[in-house]
């Protein structure tokens, strides 16, 4: 009966009840949406991070590198050289190294050149077809297949850059869909996956055009040289090819066939003794300011002994002519160490000694969540303020109603209810108001999230699950507690009421 009376009392005065409930529901709604988004973002970021210990990419914002290479949420920081990256990938401390090459997209979805290891990292299962094996074959993430309607056997063209429409379409390099993955709830779902070579093939013409231009590549070559001399145990094969080509032109212009001859033999053979042995005075004797200005000063300035120290076997193991032709670049490398102890040593040497950067993604993501957390905390404080006001409104409403209802309380006592029953009645009313506020707030949060999802779907390819998260249990408890606390004083008064005095009032 107490329960029925409590409920009827709430329904009997709908306006004040609606006031209480609506304040509660907005507080609850905001907090629930925040809880859901925060939890699911953290889970998603955690899932996608997998066991990636280190990300290597072009210098730039570390966070951008992580967002772009691990989560595919941002533009790449730039490209790095495959050969330079390879020395790190082949480091004995590295357990797994996955190259990523991206920059193109299909209908706004990223085309990612990688290896099969990347799919295995996220435990991808094939739903249809197979995993890409040759260049220009593509395997699609589940959501991509769903969104684009592409099927196995279909052909699509990549767009340069990551824009939805507009942008340069690579019309002469179509991709063929060879497989579609099962849903993994990871970043895989929204990627078009292919071999790294496909990305190179697509960009072959464009990049060569650029690099063949005089001057630009020359300076690039110099940069690589200086990187080499700083002790990174690799030689940039591709740049060598270019370097040679330009040298030839330059040197020929200066008409000193002698120099030309020994210089290039030396480079190819890496016969540094010989290089050292050649007479630099002789060079100076030639009238070629240009030549002196960059090439030889540079060479002289560096310690050739150091140069000798490079791993020449490795160097020679590569096919020079091939690399000379194709400038292999990738966007990032995802590394996993054999031992976690290595994590803190490697990034520093890479950051200091190469023109790549190495970033520990978990640190960047923690930093990101810390920053997001500040915003979320502000919103939570606002919501907590609303909850507090809701609590106060429940208090005022119950307190006022008790004044109107004091004869009812006296009547209930006179028909046999104990003082504690009256206390319980008021507490129950507060709790019911709070529970209604919670229930409606829960509904509001789901409706809100549904609309956020519709928006997020377009903007970030991110979907939030509408399910229950553990933090909500606390929110239920807190909300009910707010209702009970607000009802406490009126309930106390109802319990302590002097029945006889009240009935004698008139």
């Amino acid at each position: 009966m107490i329960g029925k009376i409590a409920w009827k009392n709430i329904v009997h005065k709908p306006l004040s009840s609606i006031l209480c409930v609506s304040l509660l529901l907005f507080g609850v709604g905001i907090i629930t949406v925040l809880l859901l988004i925060q939890k699911q973002l953290e889970d998603k970021f955690e899932r996608d991070l997998k066991d990636i210990d280190l990300v290597i990419g072009a210098k730039g914002s570390p966070l951008q590198l992580v967002l772009s290479s691990v989560y595919h949420l941002d533009a790449p920081t730039g490209n790095i050289d495959m050969a330079e990256a390879r020395t790190i990938m082949e480091n004995p401390m590295v357990a797994e190294a996955i190259p990523l090459a991206y920059g193109d997209s299909y209908r706004g979805y990223r085309i990612l050149g990688t290896t099969e290891a990347y799919l295995n990292k996220y435990d991808a299962q094939i739903r249809d077809g197979r995993i890409f094996s040759s260049p220009m074959e593509a395997t699609l993430g589940a959501r991509i297949a769903e969104k684009t309607g592409l099927k196995v056997g279909d052909v699509f063209l990549g767009t340069h850059g990551e824009v939805k429409d507009g942008g340069e379409v690579h019309e002469d390099s179509p991709y063929t869909v060879v497989g579609i993955l099962e849903n993994t709830n990871t970043v895989l779902d929204q990627l078009l996956l292919t071999r790294v070579e496909s990305v190179w093939q697509v960009h072959d013409h464009g990049e060569h055009g650029e690099h063949k231009g005089p001057g630009g590549v020359f300076s690039e070559g110099r940069e690589v040289y200086s990187a080499q001399h700083q002790g990174l145990p690799t030689v940039e094969h591709g740049e060598h090819g270019d370097h040679e080509g330009h040298d030839h032109g330059d040197h020929e212009g200066h008409d000193h066939g002698d120099h030309e001859g020994h210089d290039h033999d030396d480079h190819k053979g890496h016969d540094h003794d010989d290089h050292e042995g050649h007479d630099h005075d002789d060079h100076e004797g030639h009238d070629h300011d240009d030549h002196e200005g960059h090439d030889h000063d540079d060479h002289e300035g560096h310690d050739h002994g150091d140069h000798e120290g490079h791993d020449h076997d490795d160097h020679e193991g590569h096919d020079h002519s091939d690399h000379g032709e194709q400038n292999e670049e990738i966007t990032a490398v995802l590394l996993k160490y054999k031992s976690k102890r290595s994590v803190y040593n490697m990034p520093r040497s890479i950051n200091e000694q190469t023109n790549m950067q190495a970033v520990i993604p978990s640190i960047e993501i923690n930093r990101l969540f810390y920053m997001l957390g500040i915003g979320a905390t502000t919103l939570k404080l606002i919501a907590a303020g609303i909850m507090l006001m809701a609590g106060l409104s429940v208090f005022f409403v119950l307190y006022n109603r008790l004044r109107e209802r004091r004869y009812e309380v006296a009547l209930m006592r006179s028909v046999g209810y104990k003082p504690f029953d009256l206390f319980g009645l008021l507490i129950l009313e507060g709790a019911i108001l709070a529970a209604m506020g919670y229930a409606l707030g829960w509904v509001l949060s789901r409706v809100g999230l549904y609309f956020i999802n519709r928006q997020a779907q377009n903007d970030f390819n991110q979907q939030f699950d509408l399910g229950f998260v553990s933090g909500e249990i606390w929110l239920i408890a807190i909300t009910i507690l707010v209702g009970i606390l607000a009802a406490f004083l009126p309930a106390w008064q109802a319990m302590r009421m002097e029945v006889s005095e009240t009935l004698s009032e008139n």
Partner: protein, 209 residues
């Protein structure tokens, strides 16, 4: 049955009110008359156990209710005493029927319907109490007072707000219901119209000691 002995009540900072002893057998009625301010309502509250006497005893059905603790009193009252007030008190948010069944000790819906039939309020059961006329409200109060098969029915000015016709109806219904339940009926009032209906009368004068 109900009886009192040497009953007196003292409000803070005033002289005690001493009440004459009274005793009412089951099925009998007693009218306690007195002018306003002579302590009629105080006496009724003492009889109902809503207030504890400063001196003396109230015995209902052999139980000294003046010795009971608050919680025991609430329970005893709920089980044994029916009260009709001058003004009808209802839980406004509940229907007439739910108001009849308000007591935690008398939740018998058949009994509620039977009483309502006797008191001719059976078509009002699903109405809201504040929509009833004063006469109807008082009949609902009487029906509620007998819901727990009371040993004692106490009525505080049950007719003073009613016109003659309703007054007659209400007093007759009270007497009938008391007889029906074999309950002792005590009415405190200053309403002279009731004199003709009840033989046993005590005139209350404030006795100051």
């Amino acid at each position: 049955m109900i009886k009192t002995s040497e009953l007196a009540y003292r409000y803070p900072e005033s002289n005690p009110i001493v009440f004459p002893d009274l005793s009412v057998e089951p099925g009998h009625a007693l009218l306690i008359r007195g002018e306003s301010g002579c302590g009629k309502t105080t006496l009724l509250h003492l009889l109902a156990g809503l207030r504890k006497p400063t001196y003396g005893q109230v015995i209902v059905d052999g139980v000294k209710i003046s010795d009971l603790q608050t919680q025991q009193l609430d329970q005893f009252r709920g089980n044994n005493i029916g009260i009709v007030y001058q003004q009808s008190y209802f839980i406004q948010s509940l229907s007439v029927l739910d108001n009849l069944m308000i007591s935690p000790y008398s939740r018998d819906i058949d009994k509620a319907r039977t009483s309502a039939g006797r008191l001719q309020i059976h078509d009002l059961l699903h109405r809201s109490p504040q929509k009833l006329s004063i006469g109807q409200q008082q009949r609902v109060s009487i029906a509620r007072a007998v819901m727990n098969d009371p040993k004692v029915i106490l009525a505080d000015e049950p007719t003073s707000a009613l016109d003659n016709k309703n007054c007659r109806q209400v007093i007759n219904l009270l007497l009938e219901e008391a007889a029906q339940n074999d309950a002792a009926l005590v009415i405190v009032t200053h309403d002279d119209r009731l004199k003709s209906n009840i033989k046993d009368t005590i005139e209350l004068e404030a006795l100051l000691v």
